[in-house]
């Protein structure tokens, strides 16, 4: 785990972001009134087809493919909405130092008359487009995610700031009782003290996280526990990345043993996603490794009778990943794991260890795996 750690992403000032919007709008204006040609907007294509697994940096890097939206009968509505959304972003968020949620953006458009968004997915998509076009992630434009960013507990002090006074607030994540600290949507300003922690354990399900918290597993194992609740949000990924970079901690992922856990949750945590291809460099945790549950664990821990058959969607997901996912294609171990799973035809959940007793997972499985230290890349 001594690979070169990429530097933290640059933080763009609100003024610079606003200037970027003015530049884009100015080009469009010039096209229309001076050059008399149809204006265009181009965005990088955001899908697995347009990413490369950058082994050195450890994340998906976007390739050069871009989509161009030329003003036409078919695009005039989207074009108009883009301009109005850019205007709102610049004038109402950046210039006024305000924030807005995705749903608020959708409702805000209701004052635009014919140009309004009919459904929230429309405004969400357009927001993604704008983010990609400007190459500035939307958090920096003032858009806050609605979803929760995950929860943290363990030997960690997070140094946050009071939104009013700007004074430091020290949050000791061991002193939160039976609860945990919620990762905020913006994490760039956080500082950390985690001298006693040896690694970070990122857990898929909230219930297993609760079990580990309940039994104060983090004290025994000297680790920081993070609950991801499924695919980690951008904020969660960014938090883990910053914490790991800052405290030079290894990251281990513990998910259900199924194609979704491998290819969606873990892969997105480590290398980013196709959807966010243009900003993966901020939202990835290249130092992460995979702890379990692996297909081999099914044999090693006698879980054969605690599995479920793979469903159609699981099989499709696994095959797709083998065929199209640059991350899986790069790692032979992952290909072997997926093939193994397809051959077994079953998936296994994190909770399956309860077969051997409720606390088998923290008494036996986790210590065992940590001792062997044989992780998937």
């Amino acid at each position: 785990m001594s690979k070169s750690i990429p530097s933290a992403p640059e933080i763009i000032s609100k003024k610079a972001a606003a200037q970027k919007i003015v530049t884009v709008a100015g080009e469009i204006h010039t096209d229309i009134v001076k050059k008399h040609r149809k204006p265009e907007m181009s965005f990088p294509i955001r899908s697995l087809q347009n990413v490369r697994y950058d082994v050195k940096r450890g994340h998906f890097e976007i390739l050069g493919k871009t989509a161009t939206r030329t003003l036409s009968y078919n695009t005039v509505k989207t074009f108009a909405q883009s301009m109005r959304l850019l205007a709102t972003t610049k004038n109402d968020l950046l210039d006024r130092d305000d924030i807005a949620g995705k749903r608020e953006v959708y409702y805000n458009s209701k004052s635009w008359g014919e140009c309004r968004f009919d459904e929230q997915p429309e405004s969400d998509t357009l927001l993604d487009d704008i983010e990609a076009m400007l190459a500035i992630n939307r958090e920096q434009l003032g858009y806050i995610p609605e979803e929760r960013g995950g929860e943290v507990t363990g030997p960690l002090v997070v140094i946050d700031q009071d939104p009013g006074s700007g004074k430091d607030i020290h949050i000791d994540c061991t002193k939160l009782g039976t609860g945990a600290w919620s990762i905020p949507s913006r994490v760039e300003h956080l500082r950390f003290e985690a001298g006693r922690a040896k690694f970070i354990l990122a857990i898929e399900t909230a219930s297993l996280f609760q079990r580990l918290v309940h039994h104060r597993y983090y004290e025994k194992a000297h680790c920081i526990l993070i609950s991801m609740s499924g695919v980690p949000t951008r904020a969660c990924r960014r938090f883990i990345r910053r914490l790991a970079d800052d405290q030079r901690l290894p990251v281990l992922a513990f998910t259900d043993g199924d194609p979704y856990g491998y290819c969606n949750i873990y892969r997105t945590l480590k290398a980013g996603s196709g959807q966010a291809a243009h900003i993966n460099r901020f939202f990835c945790v290249p130092q992460a490794h995979y702890l379990g549950v692996t297909p081999q664990d099914i044999h090693d821990y006698q879980l054969e009778d605690a599995t479920h058959p793979l469903e159609e969607a699981d099989i499709k997901r696994a095959k797709d990943a083998l065929k199209n996912d640059p991350f899986i294609q790069h790692h032979k171990e992952w290909q072997a794991a997926l093939d193994h799973m397809l051959k077994l035809g079953v998936r296994v959940e994190q909770q399956a260890f309860a077969k051997h007793g409720l606390n088998f997972v923290l008494d036996t499985y986790l210590p065992d795996k940590l001792k062997k230290a044989k992780f998937l890349p």
Binding site: A25, R37, L71, A80, R84, A87
Partner: protein, 590 residues
């Protein structure tokens, strides 16, 4: 088998007592449905139709632009008087009784020439129907020229002998008078008075009902298919209260306009009051759209291929020629001296034989020889098509549409009879024409020799041909084995020296393959033109839709740029202007 007579079996003598002539009139009495008098509603229409047919034939034959008035008046619950007046040449005094009160008397049966009437049954049958149902006489007024008095004659038919019985006969100072009405049904200007013409008036048991098979529809279709005709139609109905014998509500003497009624019915109504009666009167005038008379059709000899054996024998018997060859050459069309000789040779007959002596077997051989001989098609100058321009004028006059087209096919022949198919098509504006819409079956107006056919649409070759065309090729939807849907009015006309009706009531045209083929070809031509129009219109609508869509969003685009770049209103306006120009240029070229 003979019926039993009294107690014992019938004998030849007793049976002979039962056997006697059946007069045509008696036959009609028992078979009135054959002539279109099977229901009271239909009887009213048939009477109007027969009278109008006669009037129009007479006017056209005399080269007079026809002006008609059709007056339908309800006298009691189920009693009506039909009066049809024309500005035709009039009828000489001696002929009047026979024309109106003798069945199978007329000028048209004996010759092959295109005309509305064919057999000489129609008007006298209408008179007889009136006589049978009401006992009233048929009243005729006719004046043949200026300076002469008109004859006023009341006749009945002696049904036993098929002979007219004259009830009264006097000379009166009558002249045909026509009162035009305006769109509201009110008198429009002074009445027009003609120097000659005929008026026939029949009282009958009848019923009036609106709709596709009404007198209203008939006169309207007459006006469409005879654009050279001016027709004044007046319908007087008793109100419900009077029919039940109660006192009529006090209504103003006149001038109370009713709401505009359905487009195919008289467009106005007003009430009149007098001596305790009040009636609902609606009147409409269909003005002529063209001043050209139809070509007067030429009379032709029968074509040999259209003559059946019996008729052939009759014609040979009646021939004035002295040799078979001459009879063939003189009494038939397309029969040269040489062809006549050839046929005689083929039949093994002496060309010099006396035609009246040609015996049964020999005429059969002759018939077969004729069928085997290739002959020129019959001449077609005996046909007088309406003409494409006139069809368009007629449609444009009565149907508000965005697209009109008409096709007059070249003449063709079925069974030796020349005929010609004409088709007009109007793609109507649904909101301005009742009963027409995108989801409604198209309206099919059928005509034979310019006479509207309102009954038995399903049995008619025209309907079959329309259904047989695949209208989906022409952008109309069409349920299986049914008329296509759409706001379309189709006018189909068959002109022929002899229209092959399926029955004497002349409702439906028989489906000869040649007729169906011609109809189909004409329909396909109209269909292609319709498809071109619909395609163009679709593109224009599409362009309009795109234009308004683009214009909806361009201002927002400009507004966004204005807000970002802090532009002035003027600069914003320029963006809108430039964008519209740019997008419309590339996206709206039709």
């Amino acid at each position: 088998m003979a019926k039993k007579n009294g107690g014992g079996p019938a004998t030849a003598e007793s049976m002979a007592q039962q056997q006697r002539d059946i007069s045509v009139s008696e036959f009609f009495l028992k078979n009135r449905h054959l002539l279109g008098f099977d229901s009271p509603r239909r009887a009213l229409l048939t009477a109007v139709k027969e009278a109008v047919d006669n009037s129009l034939d007479a006017c056209e034959e005399a080269g007079l632009l026809p002006e008609l008035s059709v007056d339908v008046e309800q006298l009691a619950e189920n009693r009506f008087r039909v009066t049809v007046t024309d500005n035709g040449p009039g009828i000489v005094r001696q002929q009047i009784p026979k024309i109106f009160a003798k069945l199978l008397y007329g000028s048209k049966f004996h010759r092959l020439r295109m005309s509305r009437g064919q057999q000489g049954i129609g008007i006298s049958a209408a008179g007889m129907y009136g006589q049978l149902t009401t006992g009233a006489a048929t009243r005729i007024l006719s004046r043949i020229k200026k300076g002469k008095m008109a004859h006023a004659i009341a006749v009945q038919i002696d049904t036993r002998q098929n002979k007219p019985a004259i009830l009264s006969d006097e000379e009166v100072a009558w002249r045909p008078t026509f009162q035009a009405v305006d769109a509201a049904g009110q008198p429009d200007g002074e009445p027009a008075v003609a120097n000659h013409g005929t008026s026939v008036s029949i009282e009958m048991e009848a019923a009036y009902q609106r709709g596709r098979q009404s007198v209203d529809e008939f006169v309207k279709q007459c006006a469409i298919v005879n654009p050279h005709l001016t027709l004044h139609y007046r319908l007087t109905l008793l109100t419900k209260a009077e029919k039940e014998g109660t006192t009529a509500p006090a209504t103003p003497a006149s001038g109370l306009k009713s709401q505009a009624s359905a487009p195919l019915t008289p467009v106005s109504g007003f009430r009149v009051q007098g001596s305790g009666f009040s009636s609902q009167v609606s009147a409409v005038t269909y003005l002529r759209a063209v001043k050209d008379m139809p070509e007067i059709p030429q009379e032709i000899m029968p074509h040999p291929h259209g003559v059946e054996l019996g008729l052939l024998m009759q014609m040979l018997k009646d021939s004035t020629s002295r040799t078979l060859r001459a009879a063939l050459a003189n009494d038939f069309s397309r029969m040269s001296d040489r062809t006549a000789r050839e046929i005689c040779e083929r039949a093994g007959l002496n060309p010099k034989a006396n035609p009246t002596r040609i015996a049964h077997q020999e005429s059969e051989a002759l018939y077969k020889a004729i069928q085997d001989t290739k002959l020129m098609r019959p001449p077609t100058d005996c046909l007088s098509p309406i003409g494409e321009a006139q069809i368009l004028a007629g449609l444009q006059k009565e149907i508000k549409a965005d697209f009109y087209t008409a096709v007059t096919r070249e003449p063709a022949v079925y069974r030796g009879n020349p005929f010609q198919i004409e088709i007009g098509l109007a793609y109507a504006r649904p909101q301005e024409n009742e009963g027409l819409g995108n989801e409604e079956p198209m309206r099919v107006l059928r005509f034979a020799n310019r006479v509207p056919l309102l009954y038995q649409a399903g049995a008619c070759a025209i309907t079959k041909a329309v259904i047989g065309v695949n209208w989906k090729n022409y952008s109309l939807s069409q349920p299986k084995d049914a008329l296509p849907l759409g706001p379309v009015v189709l006018l189909l006309h068959m002109a022929s020296v002899w229209v092959p009706f399926t029955s004497e009531s002349k409702d439906a045209i028989a489906g000869y393959a040649e007729i169906i083929d011609e109809l189909t070809l004409g329909l396909q031509e109209c269909g292609r033109r319709l498809a071109v129009f619909l395609h163009k219109r679709h593109r224009a609508l599409e362009a309009e839709r795109k234009r308004s869509y683009i214009e909806l969003y361009i201002p927002h685009l400009a507004r966004g740029l204005k807000d970002i770049l802090k532009l002035s209103d003027k600069e914003e306006g320029k963006i809108v202007h430039d964008l519209k120009k740019m997008l419309e240029k590339t996206h709206l070229d039709v």
